[in-house]
Symmetry: C2
Subunit: 348 residues, 2 copies
Amino acid sequence: MSSSPTSNERTEAADRDPEWLPGIDDIRAAAERIAGAAIVTPLLEARAIGEALGARVFVKAEVLQRTGSFKFRGAYNRLSRLSAEEKKRGVVAFSSGNHAQGVAAAARALAMPAVIVMPSDAPTIKLENTRAYGADVVTYDRASGDREAIAAKLTRERGAILVPSYDDPFIIAGQGTLGLEAAAQLKALGITPDLALAPIGGGGLISGTSTALKDAYPGIEIWGVEPAGFDDHCRSFAAGRRVGAPAGARSFCDALLVAMPGRMTFAINRRTLAGAVAVTDTEVAYAMAAAFRDLKLVVEPGGAAGLAGLLARKVEARKRTVLVVLSGGNVDRATFCGALAQAEAAAR
Amino acid sequence: MSSSPTSNERTEAADRDPEWLPGIDDIRAAAERIAGAAIVTPLLEARAIGEALGARVFVKAEVLQRTGSFKFRGAYNRLSRLSAEEKKRGVVAFSSGNHAQGVAAAARALAMPAVIVMPSDAPTIKLENTRAYGADVVTYDRASGDREAIAAKLTRERGAILVPSYDDPFIIAGQGTLGLEAAAQLKALGITPDLALAPIGGGGLISGTSTALKDAYPGIEIWGVEPAGFDDHCRSFAAGRRVGAPAGARSFCDALLVAMPGRMTFAINRRTLAGAVAVTDTEVAYAMAAAFRDLKLVVEPGGAAGLAGLLARKVEARKRTVLVVLSGGNVDRATFCGALAQAEAAAR
């Protein structure tokens, strides 16, 4: 159930100039752009989980988004900014699967061609869905292939536009619409959250979402949760600069196997986040089982990391009002049922 | 994965007088009563499923309701109508599990005691949750016990009120709020449904829901879906009167093992429904797998019957706009994962 890391983003020297980073206005513009195309996903109270923790817990059920993850938001926002001429040339992306589906579905919705470079051992559901959305899928071997080189070659050959998976202002602003929506939903309920948790891979989701949440609730404390062994954000926050995690780690959180924070995303996250914590695969499996049992939601390993951080009490939640982002649900049956069985055995 | 039938509702002579049956005004009153207590569950478009069928398909994700099924609606409506003196004496119910949880949670919300009579082989999640909501649970053996006699004795001993699981106007009106909500959600999207499918056990959900849907959309065609072997509604529609299904059948749809239509519910359903169709356990497993894969929702066997009827093409959906009720999601891990594995094997 484990996979090795996929990221080669080892660029150093985070940009310290905040001028060019997307802010709340960019997120509001993105929200207008994706309205009607993306789903306003429900905010659900997790009563049983809240009772167990002595907290009030709300989950943003982003597994119900188009393509089964938040990635559609950023992809649609990015692609809808392309010129007519660029749309004709189409887009190229590389992704372990959720960004792949997001770009493929957004490209179809906006009637442009898409080529996606994916690892051959990506979850079957992610490979199949990306093809079903009409994209050309080019697979490579995680161990020996260089996805960035493959994508660069395709981009050159086709004159197509490369769509980054997180280090792009329009991608970040698009993912930030999740936070904007959650804030509006919480306000409609008259609820002020004290604490928020979301998964971190490259940091696109949480950089946009934390920008929107901090705008609505300046006092909110926001934590990123990453898989143990891919704790580059934990290390980077401790060091005060971008630091990679050592190579060779494994985790079944296939969507979060990024070994270095993004340059743009980290420049945002160092200002908006309280910090990051890491969770084991067993803690993630337990969170997937809790979502299955108490929320009736299918959450993939990477999508459950935020909930895992909460349930494993990596952050103190007692007597607090908590927002948790369940960011994706694209998981194969065997992985999902394996995680539920593991959690059940561990609980005995 | 199979269980035997549980119902002894063999009362004959359906009441043909429609005067006393709950109507749209009762459902509207119920909606006001449950507002704030029950969740307005999301209406989600099932894009992949719609594309496969050449139809437009929307699901009412009632698995996200409090207690994980629609039963909280009727129970809360019924219990909130009790007098202060009746509330003090408390309530008794018998149920295979979803009505049990609905009554237990509603009793807790309204601060009254509840005793629930449940079969000892009910899904573990249903037994555990009913206890977690604070109810006293009395178990009996499905094969040899008489749950109605046990409930009657408890009712006498405690002076408590028996809460029927479907044949009660306040229960029916409460379940009808699901249809009222779905109609409002469809209207907000500017969508007119041609067709609706929902599971049938005793017929409480579909009698209330069809009343509300027919009020909003007089031309809509509504079908009930029941497990093969428990096709008492199919038989009753064919006969034009309430007819039981033969004893001895088995199905893993534990929430739908009722062998005879309700008296009140059938008096409504014979006017509002186009008919009923039956689905096999394999067809239900396939629907559970489709909900897992394409909707990221955990649906229990009985809750997936409506979707199973659609996917097994028991009703013609092509070029139509379809509403499907996913009525409950309380299922144990082993049953759920067994169904997904069965569906995957059958698809090969």
